[in-house]
Subunit: 155 residues, 2 copies
Amino acid sequence: MKDSGRNQAERRLTERLGADGLRATPQREHVYEVLLQKRDHPTAEEVFIRAKRSKPGISMATVYNCLDALVHCGLVRQVQLDRGATRFCPNMREHGHFYCNGCDTVFDVDLPKKPEPRIVLPHGFKAEHFEVAIHGTCPDCAKTKVKPRTAKRVK
Amino acid sequence: MKDSGRNQAERRLTERLGADGLRATPQREHVYEVLLQKRDHPTAEEVFIRAKRSKPGISMATVYNCLDALVHCGLVRQVQLDRGATRFCPNMREHGHFYCNGCDTVFDVDLPKKPEPRIVLPHGFKAEHFEVAIHGTCPDCAKTKVKPRTAKRVK
DNA sequence: GTTCTCATTTAGAATTATTCTAAATCTTGA
DNA sequence: TCAAGATTTAGAATAATTCTAAATGAGAAC
């Protein structure tokens, strides 16, 4: 049947949320689907807008709640790249993020195979998760040569 | 003489700002000094508070302006770790940041020597800068076992 | 030195992003 | 069916950052 992928995603969602003592509600499922549908690292606001298209009653507070729940149970990563809003990424594969200073777009980038730069933490530190962010210029912006800056707002 | 270190820092500041067409103003020097004095990854607000101690007239807008100028000219890095305020770090040596989910403290961590896992970017992408952030639990918090969470706000 | 121009600073308003609150609704298990 | 607790909701509140316009300051041109 044509949406077995969707059903699978839903099962996983219920499972993961459950493991954290959380319920798989229609809103949480919907927010998760929104993230899976267009993987362009949307902000909470953007998720809200998309979620409203097929679920007009959903509220911003719920979107934040759902996103938090999804992050909490390990189905979604939150990505902090610039001074703006947090972005969300349902790709849990190990990967980094390339942030284009020119157009603010975020691209997933592969990290070297069995990489984990093998960072040695001082004694007693327990790592749970790591993020690699690369800032630079994407091909399009490199061509058009606009906004060649690192920090925002300084002319 | 006892403050040659400071003079050196000031020379570098003037140089770097100048290279970007910016002036080395008393406020910019002061904000830079504040960052150098206590390298605990303060937020703009914290920098503002510290800056005011010896320069009561300085304004928040100026602190943001100065921080932007310093980031822009490559003397300071901004670090985005959680949903809270941006933090600032005057350590330009290559290093990563460990963020403790328990106490929100940020620690500098060394990256493997000639590391750069050699991330291969797709054709046309130009990397300017990269950040490695590790989220986890610091030794103190590991002992006391408080707040064992990844995302905020989900009970 | 005076004047012009432009950079910078400042206070405060405005905006943006996120969190909080309390009431309504829903779910689940007894 | 009911009680307890989880979730959602709207809207208020807070936090973080940016914007605005006026005042100040500094260097270039006279």
